[in-house]
């Protein structure tokens, strides 16, 4: 895809890795293989911190029924900790902090020009810009993005944004969208990868108006068979 972009670039244009990659030279570049490995690590990590709490809760009641308050606390941990991680995953696309609404109308116009008709309509109703790319389907928000790799069985949360707090919300989305289009792997490398797990876990924690965007992205991702 990058090669196609380079080939179609007018004279005087350099297709290059994302400029911000220089900020994180120690990070392994993110690609499809990295994402699959990262997803498996997250799965086993979730099992590793959930099963002991479940086991302890069940074991305590089996050994001494009067210990059920402690067992309940243990079971609550088994439920709360994964929920907190899912909340963190959903938070990457939530609206955050003070926002400059002053230039939003102008910014919305520019962002609309960058998107095709369907993605523009979805962005206007949900606040999230859907972008199909080599690694899957992205939902880009103001302060991060969710990625649904082909198959749509997993969601990855990336926390990333621009440091300029004065930018209107749609300009923040446009910043991330342009960076993603420039170098998808570089974008995912620069961003902090904060979650990998089942999309339904993220969906439950998303604000209601954003959920149709997640459903639409998953639908598109499902149409693409997962790579091995």
């Amino acid at each position: 895809m990058a090669a196609e972009a380079e080939a179609s670039a007018p004279p005087g244009v350099e297709a290059a890795a994302l400029a911000e990659l220089g900020q994180v030279p120690w990070r392994e570049r993110t690609d499809e293989r990295f994402l699959r490995r990262y997803g498996r690590i997250w799965l086993w990590w979730t099992v590793a911190y959930t099963v002991p709490f479940l086991g302890a809760g069940i074991g305590l009641v089996a050994l001494e029924p009067l210990s059920f308050p402690v067992a309940l606390a243990s079971l609550a941990h088994a439920w709360i900790v994964p929920e907190l991680y899912a909340y963190r995953g959903a938070s990457v696309v939530r609206e955050k902090g003070p926002r400059n609404r002053g230039g939003e109308q102008v910014a919305q116009g520019l962002l609309g020009d960058l998107l095709d008709h369907d993605a523009r309509a979805l962005q206007r109703s949900t606040g999230l810009a859907m972008e199909r790319s080599g690694m899957g389907v992205w939902l880009v928000g103001e302060g991060g993005a969710l990625l649904f790799p082909p198959g749509g069985r997993r969601a990855h949360g990336f926390c990333v944004g621009t440091s300029d707090r004065e930018l209107p919300p749609s300009d923040r989305v446009a910043h991330l969208l342009l960076a993603l289009r420039t170098d998808e792997g570089g974008f995912a490398t620069v961003a902090n990868h904060v979650f990998a797990g089942a999309p339904w876990r993220v969906r439950r924690r998303l604000p209601g108006p954003m959920r149709p965007a997640l459903d639409a992205a998953r639908k598109v991702a499902r149409r693409t068979p997962p790579s091995r």
Binding site: S8, V13, A19, V24, R132, G144, C159, V190
Partner: protein, 74 residues
Amino acid sequence: MPRLIRMDASGHSTLAEWAAEDQAAFDHAISEFREQLDAGYIGVLDQGEGHATQVRELPREAKLVIMRRPIAGG
């Protein structure tokens, strides 16, 4: 007409416009472009259909060049 814009607090500001045959306007656009690079902005040429390219020199044939701020993991 090709345009150079900068995303900022106002939504976006048009910094320069030039016609292919208007060398003076293009020179002005180059000067604006370099000023923005020096101020830490990154030039991006959106090529549509999910493609964009960073530019370090202003392409005369570009329709729209957008100056954006750097991003970082949050």
